[in-house]
Amino acid sequence: MDIYGWVQLALFMALLGLSAKPIGLHIGRVLEADGKTFLDRGLKPVERGLYRILRVDPGSEQDWKRYTLSLLVFSLAGLLFTYAILRLQHILPLNPQKLGPVRPDLAFNTAVSFASNTNWQNYAGEMTLSYFSQMTGLVFQNFVSAAAGIAAAAALVRGIARHSAKTVGNFWVDLVRVNLYLLLPICVVYSLFLGSQGVVQNFKPYITARPIEATAAPSPETAPAGQTIAQGPAASQIAIKMLGTNGGGFFNANAAHPYENPTPLSNFIQMLSIFLIPSGLTYYLGRKVRNQKHGWTVWSAMALLFLAGVLFCWKAESDGNPRWAELGVSRTLGNMEGKEVRFGAFDSALFASVTTAASCGAVNAMPDSFTPLGGFVPLFNIQMGEVVFGGVGSGLYGMLIFVVLAVFLTGLMVGRTPEYLGKKIDSYDVKVSVLALVILIFSILGFSAWAAVSPWGKAALGNAGPHGLSEILYAYSSGTGNNGSAFAGFNGNIVRLNITLALAMLFGRFLMLVPVMALAGNLAKKKRLPPSGADFPVGGLMFTLILMATVLIIGALTFFPALALGPVVEHFVMTGSSILY
């Protein structure tokens, strides 16, 4: 743990904190149907055109049920759209490698994965998908699933901010405005930056290079004539992949691939861009509910949980693997298996923490090859519910579920009716909040347990021993949490796993959304109580600590027995024995 890492971490947190206000203010303007932004001059006609195509009146609003229905039906339609493209890619354009149609179960898994903002990669980009499939089938979902998440969070924040109201916004207006005014402009600038660093953007067939060394003949079956180098329109896809916390790589190796993440600077900006919108949304929350201190309190709870994870992971990865000492391998660089030299232990640990705290799931190093405790952190981050900044939108609404529960628990402890920002929290609110969490827990532990005792689950393992259990647990946590990163030795590309993982992703996204929207609707229609002076303050250090404790106790403790059998056992095996698997 060297000084460079500490300075870089400080810089990262400082930039994140400084960006929260400007981006939060911009999000606030985007999420008002008649909000004005500096982009209006160019984009207002496009926005009006889209409303005309959709036949939507931007002045009208929806109640929570209609809003949810629009969101669900749109996601389903989008899923079919992506599925169709993947199945038909052999007859669609931009397929210079003449790749065949994607197998039905894999296409289903991939379509669900992108529609739910998960981006689990059972496919390997450069071997499976045509340029058209990537650019259309996947990029479409990268934009709209991110926008749908932000829309749902906006609906919940409106529910909290409004009183005696029937409606929570208009899904179609939110969808259009978030895409046009928030995601698209940032992505254009961002993809140019990525291009300047070396990320490819072209439609050329794969290039066959004659190797520099005459004797270097890589693989006789794949590239007898030389090195085949995959190409493609990657820059435009990677920009939205990071900004929308999607995480599905253009290439199989994701952000470890030099074409996808060529320099330490591109890596730094990619990490920052994952957190940009989730962090800005906490400012938006504070502003909407007219309690900026509450917004910053939520931000601080997230930041502290995040830092704890980063330091833990960094320490484990820079300590490396003790078994290598006896092999005469230096440990000064830390654990380098599955890592790139340009990133090293620190940037890999930071990236892994960012990508799992948010529900991004991009990886710049292979988490499966992390040390047991280094791999524990990403897994734990996902199991906390990805509320540490979290996915775009989903992070905020996930955290607000915990806020409601924290308010409820403190109310119980002091024997007072729980109130949140001037509204009574009643049993309906608590029920739907708990329901949202229980769905995640059942999906993760239920599917993991099923896979762990089934031949098809065990057949997919890439590692034996406790590490194998970690692989299964990671897969269903990542799927349910809509993260998408993987302990990738686990081969999920078989029919049963494609289906069960897709179900986990659907449950994690859409079954959680319904209770969240119900909470939004119920909060919106409540009357605001006059301030009594006795209500519990939701800003400040005390609430930060209570919120963190709630996340840890309710969100993560559930998983502790399973974690103890996976990464924790493996850690003691690695450090205290000579057993290998």
């Binding site: 959709l54 520099i212 890589p218 435009s236 590692n463």
Partner: protein, 197 residues
Amino acid sequence: MKIWLSELLTSFRAIIGLAVIVCGIYPASVWLLNRALFPAKSGGSLIQRDGRVVGSWLIAQAFVEPRYFHPRPSAAGSGYDASRSGGTNLGPTSKTLVKTVGRRAAQYREENELPQDALVPADAVTSSGSGLDPHISPENARLQAGRVARARGVPEEKILEQVKAYTEGRTLGIIGQPRVNIMKLNLALDGVHDVGR
């Protein structure tokens, strides 16, 4: 039922409207802009030699001859296959991994004529995440310099000078790790230089 149907129709209209923008206009404009501003980079940072493409500055290639610096081990396809990127995904308690690392460390010492108790840099014996990592650590490069010098029949200082010239530091002094790009270094030894540098 009627509501469902109307939502479904709106969804399809939204898909068409948005897809034209985010899947058509957006990537196409990024393509045109990147091609105009960064033609070499957006095209894959390819290396031309005698009019033929011999690789990419960003993608490691197999080097086994002693007169070249060797890249990190690769798990991409059957090695350095830039159409099958990926790592080994072997965990820290994997027998296969520990055995492989031990074997590579012994081989590294032998190739570079290092003493039996010399510590081998971790990057020299582990596979990268992408299998295409073009970089090695400066320590790894220095340890290989002697072998390269002997194979080329030049003094080791000359090679070390090149290693130093091709060592990239941390960005802004703090971000990332010091590293040596073996594609650049090996081609510089052959007298070919990265024009984009």
